[in-house]
């Protein structure tokens, strides 16, 4: 169980690191949101499930799944709110808004 947890945590860390590289490299705020959604949906999933399995099967698995469900429900709402505010205040993708 510890071995499987370790592998899952390492996969999750890979996606988290790729997401942060994307946060640095991508050109504007619209494209950077994709990097954020990568870390939110895949990185958090693998890391949290890996941590739960690392502990072994007990009630903590259920509680960590509750946190995971909250992340899956709430983070798209935040990403959508941010990107809608950017769109409504006049930013457009590829309009020379560079880092």
């Amino acid at each position: 169980m510890v071995g499987l947890g370790t592998v899952l945590i390492l996969i999750g860390l890979f996606f988290l690191v790729v997401g942060s590289i994307g946060m640095l490299r991508l050109p504007d705020v619209f494209a950077r949101t994709h990097a954020l959604s990568l870390t939110d949906s895949l990185g958090a999933l693998f890391t949290l499930v890996g941590l739960a399995l690392y502990e072994g099967f007990n009630t903590n698995l259920l509680k960590i799944l509750v946190v995971l469900g909250l992340i899956y429900l709430l983070n798209p709402v935040i990403a959508h709110a941010t990107i809608r505010a950017a769109y409504r205040s006049g930013l457009r993708p590829g309009s020379g808004e560079n880092a």
Partner: protein, 155 residues
């Protein structure tokens, strides 16, 4: 409907308190029943098909995994071959529940993100052309429409 609400609240209580001592379980049952009884039932025009909803989760996860690997390859590629675009998409889904599930799924999938939502109309930002094929092809929309059948045809 109230019973379903109470059952979901009670399950959440059990998973957060993580004990099975009689006092905890009794307090949880009383509070879940009370909250479900006090709150009014929202009017439903659509009925959720539980079987389709259960099948939807693993399907969406497969999609997320596939497009996640795709977006990772784009980001790690040395020349950064992205072509961002805004896609205006006309959809036949109009009710609030369907739009919430559709918009949330689009945002959750790496590579596409919902920018504006109106009944029957979505503006989606995509990182390249391959990411939009799921949405434009109508696969996602069909799955969400299966989940919410209209009450007249279903029951």
């Amino acid at each position: 409907m109230r019973f379903v609400t109470a059952a979901v609240l009670f399950a959440l209580w059990l998973s957060l308190s993580a004990t099975l001592s009689p006092a905890h379980v009794a307090v949880g049952a009383i509070i879940a029943g009370l909250v479900a009884w006090v709150n009014p039932v929202l009017p439903h025009k659509r009925r959720l098909s539980w079987l389709a909803a259960l099948a939807y989760g693993p399907w969406l996860f497969g999609r997320i995994l596939k497009s996640g690997v795709h977006v990772s390859r784009l980001i790690l590629h040395p020349s950064l071959p992205i072509s961002p675009r805004l896609v205006s998409h006309r959809t036949r889904l109009t009710s609030d529940g369907e739009l919430v599930v559709l918009g949330n799924s689009i945002t959750l999938t790496p590579g596409t993100i919902t920018v504006e939502v109106a009944p029957g109309q979505l503006v989606v930002h995509a990182i390249d052309e391959e990411s939009t094929e799921d949405l434009v092809g109508g696969a996602l929309e069909g799955k969400v429409a299966d989940m919410f059948r209209s009450e007249t045809s279903d029951s």
